[in-house]
């Protein structure tokens, strides 16, 4: 029953949930980068030098 409800919620709002999840982590990582000098650095794009 619970699985059915969860599956229904995901089918109806899956994209919104995914986008919210992604935005949340983007903000967390960016804040980490801004707030600490030793924060996680973003590597350059690999294919830019081709």
């Amino acid at each position: 029953m619970l699985m059915q409800v969860l599956s229904h919620i995901f089918r109806t709002h899956g994209r919104l949930m995914l986008i919210t999840f992604e935005i949340f982590w983007i903000v967390v990582f960016l804040l980490d980068r801004i707030s600490s000098a030793g924060g996680s650095g973003v590597p350059d794009f690999v294919y830019v030098n081709f």
Partner: protein, 426 residues
């Protein structure tokens, strides 16, 4: 004039595409400007061209000289295309000659800015490009612009270019969302997109464009940041001192990093183009869930593999089919063409031998898959047929393919370290 504009623009903060805050500030202004204009063709095209040029000049390694070179390349390619599409040159031979001349000229420019040896022989003063004298000049975007220019010349030779106009062609060549790393779009698709873009409002493109940008940012700012320290090139211990499983995990992380980095870039390019009203082709379709290396490549960097298939692989196959001694052996034709295509793909990725070996590794891998497929078609055993159609066969295929791809990345790692690993284990 370009130098003046460049100088003026260089007072603004320069920015790498998609990763710097200034980029997004400029990008919002460009979207507003392009979308706010009335839907009049030439004015819109002109504004888009100004926006494209402005964005390129904001790149840290792009200056007026680089822009002048692109203008020359664009004018030359457009001229060749116009001649090939017009009626002034009649006869097959002169048209072939003009097309060949156009392609060779573009390849020559590409080779100069791609290969150190050629550049050191032909270009003495690298300070012109603002990268300091006696320095290898890296002309950003040259690979992808060359691919577009060659595609344009070939399609013009076939008289398949639709609605050619200079402003639209210039925008096609310098279109900033795909300028640095693709996807490699085709001229007719761009022309169609451009026609649609003139009519449509931002509303239908806003949600899909932003959604794609969020996917790209998540891949770039979250997933690759997590993966990068674990990739084989970032491991602190020399490879020869690591256990095989540690090397393998480093390679897996490197493969996933490559995928998320490049597909993230593609998402950002496609999403940004969409906000401007343009549709760019897809570049990735879950390549690591494909059951053989041939399918992986058909779904990895698709715009490049599509380009190589159309302009290298098929012409080679057609030429070989005309040879009497090869006509009866289609598998030899197909495998030779695929190995040559991947040899060139490797040579394009870099000038050193390891890139060529990497290309050959994949070419030979696909040739082996072709042989296997031929053998599979001859199998009649019921149990084997059941296995081929099963989920287990698919899963085994996916695992083997991913491992083949990941192990191939060893060619792109420091070759001395790889030699040390090989010496240790064999």
């Amino acid at each position: 004039m370009f130098e003046t504009i460049s100088h003026w623009l260089q007072r603004l903060p320069s920015t790498e595409f998609y990763s710097g805050a200034p980029f997004w500030a400029y990008f919002v202004l460009v979207v507003i400007a392009v979308r706010a204009l009335p839907a009049r063709g030439t004015v819109r095209d002109l504004l888009l061209l100004v926006a494209n040029v402005g964005m390129l000049l904001a790149l840290p390694r792009f200056n007026g000289t680089a822009l002048a070179l692109y203008v020359a390349l664009g004018v030359f390619t457009f001229g060749v295309g116009r001649v090939l599409l017009g009626d002034s040159v009649k006869g097959r031979r002169p048209r072939i000659l003009i097309a060949l001349l156009g392609i060779l000229a573009v390849l020559f420019v590409l080779a100069i800015f791609k290969y150190r040896l050629l550049q050191s022989l032909l270009l003495k003063d690298s300070s012109l490009f603002g990268q300091g004298a006696a320095h290898f000049i890296f002309l950003i975007g040259i690979s992808y612009s060359s691919f577009k220019a060659i595609h344009f010349v070939i399609e013009a030779y076939k008289r398949k270019i639709e609605g050619l106009r200079f402003l639209e062609f210039a925008n096609y060549l310098l279109f900033f969302p795909s300028f640095v790393s693709g996807p490699i779009n085709r001229y007719n698709d761009f022309h169609q997109s451009s026609t649609t873009a003139r009519r449509s409002s931002l509303r239908p493109d806003l949600a899909p464009g932003l959604e794609r940008i969020v996917h790209g940012l998540f891949k770039k700012f979250v997933i690759t940041v997590i993966l990068f320290p674990h990739t084989i090139v970032q491991l602190k211990t020399p490879l020869a001192e690591l256990a095989p499983w540690q090397i393998l995990l480093g390679l897996y992380a490197y493969a996933l990093y490559f995928y998320f980095d490049f597909s993230g870039y593609t998402d950002l390019a496609i999403g940004s183009a969409r906000l401007l009203g343009f549709h760019l082709p897809e570049n990735f379709n879950l390549p690591f869930l494909k059951k053989n290396i041939q399918q992986l490549w058909a779904n990895w960097h698709m715009s490049l593999t599509g380009w190589l298939t159309d302009y290298v692989y098929w012409p080679l196959v057609r030429r070989m089919r005309n040879m009497d001694f090869l006509r009866q052996h289609p598998l030899i034709i197909s495998n030779s063409a695929i190995i040559i295509t991947f040899f060139l793909c490797g040579a394009w990725h870099g000038e050193s031998v390891n890139f060529i070996l990497w290309g050959l590794y994949h070419g030979v891998g696909i040739a082996i898959v072709n042989l296997y497929q031929k053998w599979k078609r001859q199998v009649r055993h019921a149990l084997a047929l059941k296995y081929f159609a099963s989920r287990l066969s698919y899963t085994v295929g996916v695992i083997l393919t991913f491992n083949f791809f990941a192990i191939g990345l060893l060619f792109l790692v420091d070759s001395r370290q790889v030699v040390a690993v090989v010496q240790r284990f064999f």
